[in-house]
């Protein structure tokens, strides 16, 4: 084949390459999103409900907890089948919106609390105000968490579980250094510096690209009395200034800019970090995977005020379902205090309401106390939360890793935040 001479050989190669490239283009276009839609038959007096969530497949600890909860419901309610579908967190909201555009929504969606407003605005989830009023249990919920379900004065969801961020600390390391968990942010910086030795760092938190990496800085900003919508402020300068100092001084690893919360947990579990800011999600995982690790949990340090970041999932009913009554029954059942009492410890989450008895575990008690100080975006900030939080992470990145001054990083981020808030219709 190659003996025919340069010209035709080259032309052949070019054509073959063209076919290859075209094939690659087609596969790239065709590999969009595959729906592994489960279909259920509703004959014989049975009801099949679909539920989409991002907790993981049943073979993961978080996915198993949810599966057990759904199994319990099915056991207690003959004739009802719930078919869960796991969609990874990063794809969840996008998938819901795309499915809604295609008219193919589940009956129930277990959504991130912060996306409730966007999904209500998009017409993906329905107004539950009448049902909630008839239910009459709204007063049992913590105000901040309940607020995430409110859109223009109507209720579009019911909280499923809540979570908050607190400080995990390595007891062995703190005892060796003769330290107690820090109660103020000034102490935090001092202790974290003392606890780091080049090999190990004093404090770890997630500062990864995107909204996930904004949590710790938002917590610090709130503690300084600041507002995430107004980051180019004195509180913003205090918060970002301290984080930048801690990273530059080696108290916090530069790697936080690449770590998600799972990575942070691993750093802590491997003894690479003496303290970490993380949610209750990792309580039993840490205990199971690292039984030899001596650790405990403390409230976040305070500055002008005590504050933490709320993490919450809400249950919602889609606008297109024909089984809204059955779906509501599932949601209301899931929120029964005795059901939550069994589910929450397994799921490593906290109750979003005040009448659930999950035992007297001291670590869970700390998280429950921390939850009382939780902050969540509201109003316009809620509608643009993903972008605003992404910009806040951008400020951390620019100041701690990109060589920008704290003032410039804050001013840049503020410009982008203002634009994002102005875009909210």
């Amino acid at each position: 084949m190659g003996t025919r001479g340069g010209r035709s050989g080259a032309a052949w190669t070019a054509r073959a390459a063209g076919v290859l490239a075209a094939a690659a283009l087609l596969t790239a276009c065709g590999s969009g999103g595959s729906d592994d839609e489960t279909s259920g038959d509703g004959d014989g007096g049975t009801t099949t409900l679909s539920l989409w969530h991002y907790y993981g497949t049943p073979d993961t600890p978080t996915g198993a907890a949810l599966q057990n909860l759904l199994d319990r419901y099915e056991d207690e309610h003959e004739g009802v089948t719930i078919e869960p579908r796991h969609i990874p967190f990063g794809d969840f909201t996008r998938t819901l919106l795309q499915s809604a555009a295609g008219g193919d929504l589940p009956d129930i969606a277990l959504i991130n609390g912060f996306t409730t407003q966007a999904l209500a605005d998009a017409g993906v989830i329905q107004d539950l105000s009448d049902r909630v009023e008839e239910w009459g249990e709204a007063d049992h919920y913590f105000e901040t968490g309940w607020e995430t379900t409110q859109v223009d004065g109507a209720t579009y969801a019911v909280p499923h579980v809540a979570d908050a961020y607190a400080v995990y600390y390595n007891e062995t390391m703190l005892t060796e250094a003769g330290l107690q968990p820090p109660t103020t942010w000034a102490d935090m910086q001092e202790y974290a510096t003392q606890l780091s030795d080049g090999q190990r760092y004093g404090l770890a938190f997630s500062g990864i690209e995107g909204d996930e990496g904004a949590t710790a800085l938002v917590i610090r900003l709130l503690a300084a009395g600041g507002d995430p919508a107004d980051i180019d402020s004195e509180a913003g300068a205090v918060a970002l200034g301290q984080f930048t100092d801690m990273i530059a001084g080696g108290a916090v690893s530069n790697g936080v800019l690449t770590w998600n919360e799972e990575d942070v947990k691993n750093q802590f579990a491997n003894g690479q970090a003496a303290m970490m800011i993380n949610s209750a999600t990792y309580l039993s995982i840490l205990a199971e995977e690292n039984p030899e690790l001596q650790w405990n949990v403390a409230l976040l340090p305070t500055d002008v005020q005590a504050a933490t970041f709320l993490s919450q999932e809400n249950l919602a009913i889609s606008t297109t379902t024909e089984k809204a009554d059955a779906a509501w029954d599932v949601i209301a059942w899931m929120q029964r205090p005795e059901v939550l009492a069994e589910y929450l410890p397994e799921r490593n989450k906290l109750a979003a309401r005040d009448d659930v008895d999950t035992g007297d575990d001291p670590v869970r008690a700390i998280f429950a106390e921390q939850l009382q100080q939780a902050w969540a975006p509201e109003g316009d900030l809620a509608a643009a939360s993903s972008e605003v939080l992404t910009r806040i992470q951008g400020a951390l990145q620019a100041a701690a890793g990109g060589g920008a001054s704290v003032a410039d990083a804050l001013a840049d981020a503020q410009g982008q935040i203002d634009e994002a808030l102005a875009n909210v219709e």
Binding site: G2, T3, R4, G5, G6, R7, S8, G9, A10, A11, W12, T13, A14, R15, A16, A17, G18, L20, A21, A24, L25, L26, A28, C29, G30, R94, L97, A100, A101, A118, D121, A122, G123, V124, G198, I208, E209, G210, D211, S253, N254, G255, L257, T258, Q267, Q272, A384, S386, E387, T390, G394, Q397, A398, G401, G402, G403, A420, N423, E425
Partner: protein, 312 residues
């Protein structure tokens, strides 16, 4: 495929024109499935996307419809944004560097493998692994290797005393950009090598023999025989590699998500963020439509030069 095979003699003796025309039309039917497939999977989304870019589509309109036609407003808005131009510059920088690196390496490997030596085919196949390895695997492997606390690269550099302590390569703007360039070049090199190798094997040995007799050394043979004759293949390889790299999303997204800051914010990730992170579907559509112009222009150039090559 386009000509029907008839037994010798029968074709010329068929007098009626109508059946022949009918048969020709029948032949066209065979391409219908391909046309339908392309229309459904490429043309429809493309046109839908362009339509979207001329409307005001936020989170409320994507589901319920009723998106208002706003003409060029989204485009003027997008073209006045620094973010967009920054993403374009990063995209061109990333693509240019990755293509240059992949081409240089691919050429070196192709020349090397064009010689006969034992184990040549095995080694060539092994190299192809980089090309066929799923990106989700290769990008994550690169990410781990570049990690500051447990990454291989840091450990090696520390061992030879180049760096001191943990260096998080992907947390720093310039190293992060070079890291995604290297990872991309690494995966494209075998593809370039295969193309160039096919071209090299089309160059007759006699030309090299003649050049050698004329006293040309190895470098002179490469610059005066190989490169001129390889020109069409080079062009093909460069263009195809440029187009595929320009629209790369997965490698960069998995390694840095466009960060740190906006250091690796290439256009595909910028468009993704606009549409699926911030739910501005209209500006996302504008970004993807504008993004199409560069590869489209290059494709036209490619097919033109291909045709010129064929007619020559």
């Amino acid at each position: 495929m386009t000509t029907t095979v008839a037994p010798p003699g029968t074709a010329s003796t068929t007098p009626a024109r109508a059946p022949r025309r009918a048969r020709r039309w029948g032949d066209h039917l065979f391409v219908v499935p391909a046309v339908v497939f392309v229309a459904a999977t490429v043309l429809y989304p493309l046109i839908f996307n362009i339509d979207l870019s001329f409307r005001d589509v936020g989170v409320a309109q994507i589901v319920t419809g009723g998106a208002e036609w706003v003409g060029w407003e989204n485009y003027t808005d997008q073209l006045s944004r620094d973010d967009f131009w920054h993403a374009l510059v990063i995209s061109l920088l990333y693509t240019g560097l990755a293509v240059a690196a992949a081409f240089a390496l691919g050429m070196a490997l192709a020349v090397y493998f064009n010689q006969r030596f034992p184990g040549r085919n095995v080694m060539r196949s092994l190299l192809l692994l980089a090309w066929i390895l799923p990106t989700v695997v290769s990008a994550n492997v690169w990410r781990w290797m570049l990690d500051g606390s447990y990454g291989l690269i840091n450990t090696l550099l520390e061992a030879v005393g180049v760096v001191d302590g943990d260096v998080f390569w992907l947390a720093r703007p310039v190293p992060a950009l070079f890291a995604v360039v290297i990872a991309t070049a690494w995966s494209f090199t075998p593809f370039i090598m295969i193309l160039l190798l096919a071209g090299l094997q089309g160059i007759p040995d006699t030309l090299y023999e003649a050049a050698t007799i004329d006293g040309a050394g190895a470098w002179r043979r490469f610059t005066s025989v190989t490169m001129p004759l390889l020109k069409p293949v080079n062009l093909t390889a460069l263009l195809l590699c440029f187009i595929s790299t320009f629209k790369t999303f997965d490698t960069v997204f998995l390694m840095t998500r466009g960060g740190p800051g906006e250091a690796t914010m290439i256009l595909p990730i910028y468009a993704y963020n606009e549409a699926f992170e911030f739910f501005r579907f209209d500006t996302g559509a504008v970004a993807t439509t504008l993004m199409l112009i560069v590869p489209l222009g290059l494709s036209v150039f490619y097919f033109r030069s291909l045709r010129r090559e064929e007619t020559a």
